[in-house]
């Protein structure tokens, strides 16, 4: 029932559409008007009776132009030099290579790569960019070493210690005793002496627990006397020296 009703509606729609199109066409199509026929007017051309004035080229100017080399069109160019012919040959060869299907594409991409590399190189040089940014490794910071006041390998420890004791400068004598111990530890491969390493670093480098403990005591003494600037008299120094001598003779 519903299908029947739908078909009927479609038929009506089609009728309305035909009627609408007919109406449009009939509205557009208006009757053609017939224009009145107008008789053609005959025009007659008049002869040009004006007086002609004959003008000639200025021969002097023509001869002056002829003397100028710019107007010598038949001038023979001098023959190409050997250099020019070489480059002409190079370009001919290059054109031939490029024109070739196989080598041409190779040369084309090679040229593009070379040109790109050149541009990148110029940009990098111009901006001063560090190329190591691509490797992920940082450039080592160049800091000049501060000149060591004392190179432990050059000090005559025995003489210097005697000199300090002679001057009753026990603080300096303790410092020299400590430095001599560091030198001995380095010479016995127990530590790796470097001026920028701290005393705690040297302690960690000593693997033998007993030696480490003994050296820790010496380090504490040194730090209190040297960094702490604690006063040390002859008697205290004698005790300190005994502990250093014991460590140097027995433990090393």
């Amino acid at each position: 029932m519903k299908i029947h009703s739908s078909k009927k509606q479609n038929t009506n729609m089609f009728k309305y559409l035909i009627a609408f199109l007919f109406l449009c066409l009939t509205t557009q199509a208006s009757p053609v008007r017939k224009d009145k026929v107008v008789p053609a007017k005959i025009l007659q051309l008049k002869n040009d009776s004006s007086k002609l004035q004959l003008r000639n080229f200025d021969q002097q100017k023509i001869s002056s132009y002829r003397q100028q080399t710019d107007f010598h069109y038949n001038q023979q160019l001098p023959g190409a030099s050997l250099w020019d012919r070489f480059w002409a040959w190079v370009w001919r060869w290059f054109s031939g290579v490029v024109a070739n299907g196989y080598t041409g594409s190779f040369v084309k991409y090679l040229s593009i790569a070379a040109l790109t590399a050149l541009i990148i190189y110029v940009v990098i040089k111009f901006t001063g960019t560090d190329l190591r940014i691509f490797t992920g490794k940082s450039k080592s910071v160049n800091i000049p070493y501060t000149e060591s006041a004392d190179n432990i390998h050059e000090i005559d420890f025995n003489a210097e210690i005697e000199h300090a004791i002679g001057n009753a400068n026990y603080r300096l004598a303790v410092r020299l005793l400590y430095l001599r111990t560091l030198k001995k530890l380095h010479n016995n491969n127990l530590i790796n002496w470097q001026p920028e390493k701290t005393n705690q670093t040297y302690l960690q480098e000593i693997t033998d627990p007993y030696k480490r403990e003994q050296f820790s005591l010496l380090t504490t003494q040194f730090e209190y006397i040297w960094y702490g600037e604690f006063f040390i008299d002859q008697e205290n120094f004698r005790q300190v020296k005994i502990s250093y001598d014991q460590f140097n003779t027995e433990k090393l």
Partner: protein
């Protein structure tokens, strides 16, 4: 022998007791983070402001709150937000119709310990309001200068990862922080302990049970002791060399200021005092070098592109300068 030599000078008994108490108080709650706790105490003793930086959830704010709670002092907290105004921090003058005059209402900056949470969420305008307070310990508003009570300590936290709605702290402000303490993730063992405590519902009770262990007077005494500690002249020169090198290092765009040199020496003294010594050693200077310098220096753009950090450069500098011995 050592005890004989060590007994010659400063009495550090009270200082050691105070350090032990505060260390234990914070250690009850914070699991691990030993370096963080050490630097928090060192900052407190060296009279410096502290910036705690870490990803969300590593107990930045909790650490700062615990330090504040351990001291019997006026504590205030400011949550920095993008719309915070300088007057919200400093205070403002309000008209009183009864007296027909303006009355100054003090802002939250007037406290002994001021916790500024998420400090990098406020714009430079608000940050700059802290400059005078942090450096000169005073506030100037409407032509009047108000002194801040001693001790005055700013504990600020910030998250380095988030960029949305945050502002980079001005260099002038960063320079006013004694330390930037970077709080790292806990280790596996530490995280297990944190979870166990939370599971047993201990944490909340433990935080509530934290009592103040130090008074303002005790803090003042400890600070005076720290100030009096001995620094050998060659070690002062060593600290100055490290800072000087930051100014000439090609990897750095901005070096550290003389305030940084002072900060190194003062905080090295605090570290020495905390370890029971009345003198500074090179290790003390090295220990504080990164937390003091890393936030005050600026990397050159190339080095930043390489992925280096300011801490790396400070480490390189330390490794190249001879230890005075």
């Amino acid at each position: 022998m050592e005890s004989e030599i060590a007994n010659q000078r400063t009495d550090l008994t009270q200082l050691s007791l105070a350090v032990t108490q505060i260390r234990e108080s914070i250690g009850q709650i914070i699991v691990g983070q030993q370096d963080t706790i050490e630097f928090l105490i060192a900052g407190l003793l060296a009279d410096g402001h502290l910036l705690l930086e870490g990803v969300p959830g590593v107990a930045k704010t909790l650490s700062a709150k615990l330090v504040a709670k351990s001291i019997n002092a006026v504590f205030s907290r400011i949550q920095f937000t993008p719309d915070l105004m300088p007057s919200d921090v400093l205070g403002t003058s309000v008209f009183d119709p009864r007296t027909a005059s303006f009355e100054y209402k003090k802002g939250p900056i007037f406290g002994n310990i001021v916790l500024i949470d998420e400090i990098n969420r406020a714009p430079a305008k608000t940050q700059s309001a802290l400059f005078e307070a942090m450096e000169e310990r005073q506030i100037t508003v409407d032509g009047h200068t108000y002194a801040l009570e001693e001790p005055f300590l700013v504990l600020a936290t910030q998250n380095p990862i988030e960029h949305e709605g945050t502002y980079r702290l001005p260099e002038a402000q960063l320079d006013r922080f004694l330390f930037k303490i970077e709080i790292k993730y806990p280790t596996l063992e530490e995280e297990v302990i944190i979870l166990s405590r939370q599971h047993q519902h201990k944490l909340e009770d433990e935080i509530k049970d934290i009592k103040a262990v130090l008074s303002i007077d005790q803090i003042k005494t400890c600070r005076a002791t720290i100030k009096a500690l001995h620094v050998e002249p060659k070690l002062i020169e060593y600290a100055a060399k490290i800072v000087q090198e930051t100014r000439h290092n090609k990897s750095l765009y901005l070096g550290a200021s003389p305030r940084a040199s002072l900060a190194i020496v003062n905080s090295a003294k605090a570290i020495a005092g905390m370890q029971g010594r009345d003198f500074v050693t090179p290790e003390d200077i090295i220990k504080v070098a990164i937390p003091v310098l890393a936030h005050r220096i600026v990397l050159s753009p190339e080095k930043e592109m390489e992925g280096l950090t300011t801490s790396d450069i400070v480490t390189q500098i330390i490794q190249k300068i001879e230890i005075p011995r």
